[in-house]
């Protein structure tokens, strides 16, 4: 019977199955960071338990780390949390990419970079954006700290098999429209709850033509559509990306592995519980105007009005969001002025994102009154960008060039947006207070963020790009 990739990976990881219970699934890779793990390690210690498979764990520090003046951590509570991870990794024998280590970076950036992320694996992390790894055709999902403790102790998780959903992106993307716009358009079209309780596979011509980094951006924001996980069937693009990476299968085993990976792709004629379709050619660069990721509009459009919504609760949600965001109904998106630009996060901080942004700002200056920062996703991304001279382009334009970490995506470190100010951000969440109490976040692609930095307000990067050529 034709199977989709979700069913194939699920079925091949069942350790135990019985009626009336969730399935007991084996976990191939457990990524760990400083914020959601200390209570799990403490739980192990209190119960006198050990880590079953330290060899299948990999830890790094990303959420709390400062992005300037390393290695000084001014916040004593953050420092303690970071030190606690170092101590736990040492005590339990887990590999750690510490602050300042050449492998350090945002956990969802380094997994793929190091070749730890591979098709067919079950991957978990105490972080909702674990869905990023689904870009490789892995079944990757975020878990809570109790489940982190469960995986540390047993290398398994009890999971009820969720229904599957196909989101088919047909056609071709227009020039200046990015993977970020695809996923923002999907969430704007169907809402932040569309994927709740489901695992999503992204398919279609537009998805197949994306690079691995672009696929990661799409899968990364699956959780913003409510999905448990989001993935893309592996193909030659996937195989080529993994080849030669440090934790990839060694040369003599690589072809066998690659053949196995390709065999995991969804079978012709397989089925899904839900199928949704969207046409890539209709997608334009998106800017979010509200306080959840579904509240977004095309850059050529306006902030919606109450009349655009039918239900009273949607009208009320609009009012609440606009009041927080300091925007008016019907206001053109391009009239929104910004004071901050953040290029970074597990969604958009990879080399190709930095290249795109740099190509837009090269030879220009950041608009007066705008504070713009670039936070590369990892130490190695930063090094690669510097090798190409991208840092100089950003610095000359007036951007700050920082060390890697989660930074202003969630503002756990000092990189926060002040109350009432607006940020064009390449991150994934625009919830109230996400980037700082009272901060107003607009989610956009790296190209859109870069153009906004130069102009001081949102501009349609499709025209911006053409004018410049």
């Amino acid at each position: 019977m034709a199977k989709n990739i979700i069913e194939k990976i699920w079925d091949s990881h069942i350790v135990h199955q019985e009626a009336g219970k969730p399935d007991l699934l084996y976990i191939d890779l457990h990524l760990i960071h400083e914020v959601t793990s200390p209570q799990a390690f403490e739980g192990l210690r209190l119960a006198g338990r050990k880590v079953r498979r330290p060899d299948l764990c990999f830890a790094t520090m990303d959420h709390n780390v400062p992005t300037k003046n390393l290695p000084i951590i001014n916040d004593p509570i953050a420092k303690k949390q970071i030190m606690t991870l170092a101590e736990n990794a040492k005590e339990f024998g887990i590999q750690l990419a510490d602050m300042g280590h050449p492998d350090q970076g945002i956990v969802h950036v380094i997994g793929p970079e190091l070749g730890l992320t591979q098709p067919g694996k079950t991957i978990v992390c105490g972080d909702s954006h674990t869905s990023t790894h689904g870009a490789f055709g892995a079944l990757a999902f975020g878990i809570g700290t109790s489940e982190v403790e469960h995986v540390l102790s047993t290398q398994t998780l009890w999971q009820t098999k969720p229904p599957t959903m196909e989101i088919r992106v047909n056609g071709k993307l227009g020039v200046g429209v990015s993977a970020k716009d695809i996923i923002l358009a999907i969430i704007a079209k169907w809402g932040i709850g569309v994927g709740t309780g489901h695992i999503v596979e992204y398919t279609g011509e537009a998805i197949r033509s994306l690079t691995m980094e672009e696929r990661m951006t799409i899968c990364n924001m699956s959780i913003e559509a409510g999905a448990k996980a989001g993935l893309i069937s592996p193909d030659q693009t996937t195989v080529d990306f993994i080849r030669g990476r440090r934790f990839a299968p060694k040369s003599e085993n690589f072809e066998t592995a690659a053949n196995y990976w390709l065999s995991l792709a969804s079978d012709e004629g397989c089925s899904y519980d839900v199928v949704l379709e969207i046409d890539a050619s209709e997608i334009e660069p998106i800017v979010t105007w509200g306080t959840n990721p579904s509240m977004g509009s095309g850059v050529s459009k306006t902030v919606p009005s109450a009349a655009d919504f039918e239900s009273e609760s949607d009208k009320a949600a609009l009012q609440k969001a606009l009041s927080y965001m300091g925007l008016k109904e019907g206001q053109p998106i391009s009239s929104i002025e910004i004071q901050h630009v953040f290029i970074g996060s597990c969604t958009n901080s990879r080399l190709s994102d930095l290249r795109t942004a740099a190509s837009i700002i090269e030879g220009k200056k950041v608009a007066p009154g705008v504070k713009a920062i670039v936070v590369p996703g990892s130490y190695s991304t930063k090094a690669a960008a510097e090798k190409e001279g991208l840092d100089k382009i950003f610095l000359e334009a007036g951007f700050e060039w920082r060390e890697s970490g989660c930074s202003a995506c969630l503002g756990m470190n000092e990189d926060i947006v002040p109350s009432g100010e607006r940020c064009a951000s390449t991150s994934n969440r625009n919830f109230e207070g996400r980037q700082g109490a009272g901060a107003r976040t607009h989610l956009v692609s790296p190209a859109m963020a870069a153009a906004a930095a130069i102009e001081g307000h949102f501009v349609d990067v499709r025209n911006y790009a053409t004018q410049e050529v």
Binding site: L24, V35, Q81, I143, S146, G226, N292, A317, R434
Partner: protein
């Protein structure tokens, strides 16, 4: 984990949808390495203004809802981040039950690991509870064993729950200890597991 079966309390009506975990527990409180003590930070930016003064309009600050153990909200409660600090804060504040038309997956899962009962009722039923709760303090009795919510005016709401998770909450099971009983199966799986070196 504390077992849970019957909870009799007034409800706290939080008349909002898409309540995300960033609102439940804001990032500045995630740096602590403990599991307890998060209740005082629950809904911090809704409860307090920028000077730290309580916001009198916010439902948790209204004296009539003091001591409530049941939180009622709208659709998609707990969306966003996986932070288990969110259910820790809810529990530590004193809630044992959250009622909503739907929950985000990770939050929903996290509740069961912490002895919080997440109850899904229909949108109409939640709207009814919210309206009554907003009008006047409204008492209900949640009975997990019989899967009912019985209001003080006699109205009974029935809910579904996965039988496995029901038993887990009723018994306060430690899931890790249960899983250790499958050591044989885990070992067997590891022996045949596909690994490319």
């Amino acid at each position: 984990m504390e077992p849970i079966n019957i909870v009799n309390s007034i409800i706290t009506p939080l008349d909002r949808k898409n309540v995300d975990t960033d609102q439940i527990i804001s990032k500045e409180f995630l740096k602590r390495i403990e599991r307890t003590g998060f209740g005082r930070y629950l809904f911090h930016h809704w409860r307090f203004d920028e000077d730290g003064k309580p916001n009198a309009d916010f439902v948790l600050n209204k004296p009539e809802y003091k001591g409530s153990q049941i939180l009622v909200a709208q659709d998609n409660f707990g969306c966003g981040s996986s932070r288990e600090h969110a259910p820790w804060a809810i529990l530590d504040y004193g809630f044992r039950v959250v009622i909503a038309p739907s929950f985000a997956d990770i939050f929903h899962n996290n509740c069961f690991k912490n002895g919080i009962l997440p109850i899904k009722l229909s949108e109409t039923e939640c709207d009814e509870l919210l309206a009554k709760g907003l009008q006047t303090p409204y008492n209900v009795e949640v009975d997990l064993e019989s899967q009912t919510v019985t209001a003080s005016d006699g109205k009974v709401y029935r809910f579904n729950i996965d039988p496995y998770y029901k038993q887990m909450l009723l018994n306060g099971w430690d899931e890790i200890s249960l899983t250790f009983q499958y050591e044989y199966q885990i070992k067997a799986y590891e022996e045949k597991r596909i690994v490319f070196q």
